[in-house]
C-alpha cells in the first residue's frame, strides 16, 4: 500500500515538473515574439519621425509632385492610426513603403535634389530603416513560427490551452512586393 502511495506521489511530482517546464518554454517563446514585435515597432516609429523631415527637405525642389507628397503623408497618418491588429498594421505599413518608394523614384528626375547633402543622408536613413523593418520582420516571423509550433505540438498544446496562450499573426509581406520588379523601356 505504501509503495503504491509513494509511486503516485512521485508520478505527480514528475507530471507537475513537466507541466512547469512546458509552461516556461511557452512563456520564453511568447516573450521572444513580443520582443521581436517591439523591434519592428521601434523602426516603424523611426520611419514616422523621418518622413516629415523628408517632406520638408524635398518640398522646395519637387513642386510639381504635390500629389505624391500628399499620398505619403496620408499613408503615414493611416498607418499611425492602426493600433493592435497586426494584419491591418502590416497592410498599412506596406502601403506607406509603396508611397515612399514612389517618392524616391520620382526624385531621380531632380538632379539638384540628388546633390543635396541633407536629402542624401535622409535617403540613406530611410533606406536603412526600410532594411531594418524587413530584417525585423523576418526575425519576428521566425519567432512567431517557433511559438506556434510549440503551441500546436503535443503535449504542449494542452498546456497552452489550459493557460490560454493567445495566437500571434505573421507580419505579411505585400503581395505586389513579392513579384520581381518589371523594367520596361
Amino acid at each position: 500500500m505504501e509503495t503504491v502511495f509513494l509511486a503516485v506521489i512521485v508520478a505527480l511530482i514528475v507530471f507537475v515538473i513537466i507541466v512547469i517546464n512546458i509552461f516556461n518554454s511557452l512563456v520564453t517563446l511568447k516573450n521572444a515574439v513580443k520582443n521581436a514585435w517591439a523591434q519592428i515597432d521601434t523602426q516603424l516609429k523611426r520611419r514616422y519621425d523621418l518622413i516629415p523631415n523628408l517632406i520638408e527637405c524635398v518640398k522646395g525642389y519637387m513642386e510639381h509632385e504635390k500629389n505624391t507628397f500628399e499620398l505619403v503623408v496620408k499613408a503615414r497618418s493611416e498607418a499611425m492610426a492602426v493600433k493592435d491588429d497586426i494584419k491591418a498594421r502590416s497592410e498599412a505599413e506596406n502601403a506607406l513603403s509603396g508611397t515612399l518608394k514612389n517618392l524616391f523614384a520620382l526624385s531621380e528626375n531632380y538632379p539638384e535634389l540628388k546633390a543635396n547633402q541633407n536629402f542624401l543622408s535622409l535617403q540613406e536613413e530611410l533606406a536603412s530603416t526600410e532594411n531594418k523593418i524587413s530584417f525585423a520582420r523576418t526575425a519576428y516571423n521566425d519567432a512567431v513560427m517557433m511559438y506556434s509550433n510549440k503551441k500546436e505540438q503535443f503535449p504542449s498544446n494542452i498546456v497552452a490551452l489550459l493557460f490560454n496562450f493567445k495566437d500571434y499573426g505573421y507580419f505579411e509581406i505585400n503581395e505586389n512586393e513579392k513579384e520581381a520588379i518589371k523594367v520596361s523601356f
Binding site: Q39, S128, K132, A139, M145, Y170
Partner: protein, 423 residues
C-alpha cells in the same frame, strides 16, 4: 541558429577542459623536473607546479572575460566611431544586429589602414565590437559591406570570438610552458646527470608535440567557424552575392606602390593573434591557394576561392542551402550534421535570388573604381575626427587637418599661405 551556438559552447567547454588537463600535467612535470631527487621534495614540487598552472589558467580566463576586447582593439590601433561620424556603417551594423536577433548593437571601431579587412571581438553588450579598416570602406559598396558586417556579427552571435580569444591566448601559454619544460629538462639533466626517469621523458615528448597538436586543433576549428560565419551571414543578409563579391575584392586587393612598404608593417596582417580573427588572412592566402598539405593543415582560414565558390553557387539564401553547396564544393565533408539540418526552420518569406540579378564581380569592380577615392577620404576623415584631429577651414576652401600632436599655436595654409590661429 541556436544549435550552432549550443554546439559551439560545448566545444569551447571541451577545449578548455582538455587544455586545463594539459596545463595541469605541464605544471606537474615542470615542478617535478625542477625539484631535487628527495622523494618528499619531488612530491611537493609536482603539486606546486600543478597548482601554479591552474592559478595561471584561472587568471587568463578572468582576464579574457573582463578586458580582452580592449586588448585586441588596442593592438590594432582602432578608434571608436559613432552614428554621427559614420552613419552608413552604423546603419549596416544596426541592420545586421536586428536581422541576427543579437539583442544589442556592437560598438564600431575604425582602423586606419589601406588593407581591406575586418574583425570582431567580445560576446556581450559590454565588450562586443566590430572593427573595420578604412581600406575596406573605400573598396566595398553597401551590399558588400553588409555581407562583411554580417559575417563579423555571426562570429559574435555564435560566440566564436570568445572561443578564438580563449584558444588564442591559451595556445600562447601552451607554447611558452612547453618551451619552459624543454629548457627545464636540459638544465636538470645537465646539473644532476641522472636523468629524470620515464615520467620526465614523457613530459619532454609531450612538450615537443603538444604545441603542434593544439595548433592543428585550434586552426581546424577556426576554419570551420569561418565557413559557419559565412553561412550565417547569408541567412542574415539574404544576399550571398554581396559577401562573395566582398571576399573577391578583399582577396584580390593589390596595394599601390606607395602603400606597399606600409603593408609589411601593417598591424592586422603581421600580428599573428589578430590575423586569425580577421575576415581574410593576407599572410597565408598565397600558401593556401597553392593547396600545399602542410600550409592547409596550419591555415587559420579556409581557401578564399572555395568560400567564394560556395557563395556564388547558392540558389537560396539560408544556412541549409549553404550546407548543400559546401558539401559539393568541399567534397565529403558536412559542415552541419544532417540530422540537425532538419530541425532548422526556414523562413517562409526568404526570397531566392535569381542568378541573373547578381552582377558579375568584374563588372562590379569597374563600378567601384570610380567612387573609390571619395569614400576613402570620408572614412579617413571619420578616423581623424575620432582621433581628435583639429579641423580648420581656410578661406581658399582648403581643409587643414591637424593631428593632436601638433603643438604650435599657428598654422600656414599650404595653398594660399594664410596664417591661421589654433584655438
Amino acid at each position: 541558429m541556436w544549435f550552432i551556438i549550443e554546439s559551439n559552447k560545448r566545444k569551447t567547454a571541451i577545449f578548455i577542459f582538455i587544455i586545463t588537463i594539459f596545463l595541469l600535467f605541464f605544471g606537474a612535470a615542470l615542478g617535478f623536473s625542477f625539484s631535487t631527487d628527495l622523494y618528499e621534495k619531488t612530491y611537493y614540487g609536482t603539486a606546486i607546479g600543478a597548482a601554479i598552472s591552474v592559478v595561471c589558467l584561472i587568471g587568463i580566463l578572468i582576464y579574457i572575460n573582463t578586458n580582452s576586447s580592449k586588448f585586441f582593439l588596442n593592438q590594432a590601433d582602432a578608434v571608436r566611431v559613432d552614428q554621427y561620424s559614420m552613419p552608413v556603417l552604423y546603419n549596416i551594423v544596426e541592420e545586421m544586429s536586428i536581422s541576427s536577433a543579437l539583442g544589442f548593437i556592437p560598438k564600431i571601431y575604425l582602423i586606419d589602414s589601406p588593407v581591406p579587412n575586418a574583425f570582431a571581438v567580445g560576446v556581450n553588450e559590454k565588450n562586443a565590437a566590430v572593427a573595420v579598416t578604412t581600406g575596406l570602406l573605400s573598396i566595398l559598396n553597401r551590399d558588400e559591406l553588409q555581407g562583411v558586417i554580417a559575417h563579423e556579427i555571426s562570429h559574435i552571435k555564435n560566440k566564436d570570438t570568445l572561443y578564438l580569444m580563449y584558444a588564442g591566448i591559451i595556445l600562447g601559454v601552451v607554447v611558452a610552458v612547453s618551451d619552459a619544460i624543454i629548457r627545464g629538462f636540459f638544465r636538470s639533466s645537465r646539473s644532476s646527470k641522472k636523468g629524470g626517469g620515464p615520467a620526465l621523458l614523457i613530459a619532454l615528448i609531450l612538450a615537443l608535440i603538444s604545441p603542434l597538436i593544439v595548433r592543428i586543433l585550434y586552426f581546424t576549428i577556426s576554419r570551420k567557424r569561418e565557413f559557419l560565419a559565412d553561412a550565417c551571414a547569408c541567412q542574415f543578409t539574404r544576399y550571398p552575392t554581396g559577401l562573395a563579391s566582398a571576399l573577391y575584392k578583399i582577396s584580390h586587393y593589390e596595394p599601390s606602390l606607395e602603400s606597399n612598404a606600409f603593408i609589411k608593417g601593417e598591424k592586422l596582417s603581421s600580428n599573428k593573434l589578430l590575423s586569425v580573427m580577421c575576415i581574410h588572412n593576407f599572410l597565408q592566402a598565397d600558401k593556401i591557394r597553392k593547396r600545399e598539405f602542410f600550409s592547409k593543415l596550419f591555415a587559420t582560414h579556409p581557401s578564399v576561392d572555395d568560400r567564394i565558390k560556395i557563395l556564388k553557387s547558392m540558389g537560396a539564401a539560408d544556412v541549409e542551402e549553404y550546407a548543400k553547396q559546401f558539401s559539393i564544393v568541399v567534397a565529403n565533408k558536412n559542415i552541419i550534421p544532417k540530422d540537425k539540418l532538419k530541425k532548422m526552420n526556414v523562413d517562409p518569406l526568404a526570397i531566392a535570388i535569381p542568378a541573373a540579378m547578381a552582377m558579375s564581380v568584374e563588372e562590379e569592380q569597374n563600378n567601384v573604381l570610380k567612387t573609390r577615392k571619395t569614400s576613402q577620404r570620408e572614412a579617413k576623415d571619420a578616423y581623424k575626427k575620432a582621433k581628435n584631429y583639429k579641423i580648420i577651414k581656410c578661406d581658399c576652401e582648403t581643409v587643414i587637418k591637424l593631428p593632436p600632436e601638433y603643438k604650435r599655436s599657428t598654422v600656414i595654409c599650404p595653398h594660399c599661405r594664410q596664417v591661421h590661429e589654433i584655438k
